[in-house]
Subunit: 326 residues, 2 copies
């Protein structure tokens, strides 16, 4: 059977733990996936090399005949208009690199760069549960906590492009030290790293039996906590409950300030939605101003816990194309 | 000397304590002022009567020859598109009244209605310190705490027109009961009523000598607390410090989420800015995400503590006029 030649978009979502790659077809969705361990990448040339290898690998594993139409990149941190990332907590190879220029030179296709959370919001709007919505908020619960706010169909950028740092609003004073240098940021509680910290705090403060007492801080992952919660481990379950409660209170404040059509949860942690969502919904309803109570719509991403940003990357490339053509 | 006939706009700012009236000239500012005690108004017919009397009174006190070009009204609470106020905490004569229709029928001029905090934001943008800004937030520290967020030059409305209820985001759990029925809303700390509560809590918890121990809860006002602070009363000064600290922490979150050009403080309480502002600025700087630290611009309204909304009313009427003419 002759293979049909297709034009596909490479979505790249650079996270604290993995760099996720997806070959996106605008109608058919993600046709192939790969990932790179973020910690294994050394320097910007290492990043280009790893990306190049994975693109080749994807050609083989998917057995598709395709040309890349563009590369859309989601990265944490702050970038300038030209695509230079000036802040990227924990991902050293990204700092002070003009990723757009670097990759366009290497791969000879258009490259767009956006904050990972913004891409997730664009993806949800173009292909996901936010389709048709003009006002919504996407929270990405990954290694960290990302946030993008959409107001009247546009990503909220703020005066200097730095809006949406919801993960760095303060919840508890003088407690957990955050990557940003302050103490008590929401992200230190509600994120993959946050729930690990919560487990260790619970292990320290209670005498409950728990399989989680067998793991070191470096060994334990949100996935292990999730699996133990499924086996009814009391500490694992309480960690999810505590996380959901803190997040629910803060989401209530988002509803009270923004009055969005929905707050959408994405990111790896929503694989544990069975444990997280009920307490989030309950807390949001309890904590939102009374005349907003029947409007607190908390939804899960339907694009797959980690794929919203890949779809967003595709959407950006398509839009850019459109802008160039028209 | 012959009086020049002028076209002026009546701005009406309905607050929890006073209904403030101002005759606004677009270039010359406020040419005459009056006020009505909110508690003295009985029913909607009482409101129309009081307004009518004050309009006549203003003709005498200002000795101006003018025609009203329109009436712009700022009211707390929530109104429908048609101008029916469906929620107005503490102001019973406003509830379920179509204020626009009622006043247009009575005074035969165009009437516009907006949330008081939105009017203040429009006023600051058209005539005040936010002139030229596209992204800013106005907080009105009056009897309650109002908030309006401007994003890309437009008031943030949200999906159902209910955005901006910053005063009802939660700060302390299980503490002060709020007018909205929940406990711990920001407004129960940061507002005229809030600082009175803070003084009473301080009087209860400390043994410090204070002239404020001579006032009943019903007698005491923010103005009295301000006057005592000027006389170096330790409880009054601590009440302002505590208020500024709580507000500063929450303003830091606004900077972190919205990245605005400025947060502008208006409302009666800013008469005590000497006591409030330094601690607000210090706390905001300490509590904002590091890469936003040099962007935390906290400004005081320059329109007079209580006049921002009156200017906003004028601006709305002028814009409406313009829209009709063009």
């Amino acid at each position: 059977m002759k293979k049909i030649h297709q034009k596909l978009i490479l979505g790249v979502d650079i996270g604290g733990t993995y760099i996720k790659l997806g070959l996106v077809h605008p109608e058919q969705g993600i046709l192939g996936k790969a990932r790179i361990r973020t910690a294994a990448v050394k320097g910007k040339s290492g990043f280009v090399r790893a990306l190049s290898e994975k693109i080749d690998e994807l050609k083989h594993t998917t057995n598709l005949d395709y040309t890349l139409e563009g590369i859309g990149i989601g990265a944490p941190g702050i970038s300038t208009e030209e695509g230079v990332i000036v802040q990227a907590a924990n991902i050293s190879f990204l700092t002070n690199v003009n990723l757009v220029k670097l990759l366009e030179r290497e791969f000879h296709v258009p490259v767009v760069l956006a904050k990972d959370s913004s891409l997730a919001a664009i993806g949800e709007g173009a292909f996901g549960v936010a389709k048709g919505m003009k006002n919504y908020i996407v929270l990405t619960l990954g290694t960290g906590l990302g946030c993008a706010v959409v107001v009247n169909g546009e990503i909220l950028k703020g005066a200097s492009g730095l809006a949406g740092e919801f993960g760095h609003t303060l919840v508890r004073k003088n407690e957990r030290l955050c990557g940003c240098g302050r103490k008590g940021c929401l992200e230190t509680y509600v994120s993959g790293k946050g729930i690990v910290r919560t487990v260790f705090e619970l292990l320290a403060n209670s005498n409950k039996k728990s399989s989680l007492r067998d793991y070191s801080y470096n060994e334990i992952t949100p996935k292990i906590i999730f699996q133990e919660a499924q086996k009814n481990d009391p500490v694992a379950k309480k960690a999810f409950r505590d996380t959901g409660k803190i997040l629910g209170e803060k989401i209530a404040n988002l509803f009270t300030i923004f009055d969005p059509e929905a707050v959408i949860l994405a990111g790896g942690l929503i694989e544990a939605a069975d444990f997280l969502l009920p307490v989030i919904v309950e807390t949001v309803e309890k904590s939102t101003l009374y005349f907003l109570k029947d409007k607190t719509n908390v939804l899960l991403s339907a694009l797959g816990a980690n794929d919203a940003a890949l779809f967003g990357a595709a959407s950006l490339i398509l839009k850019r194309k459109k802008e160039i053509l028209i």
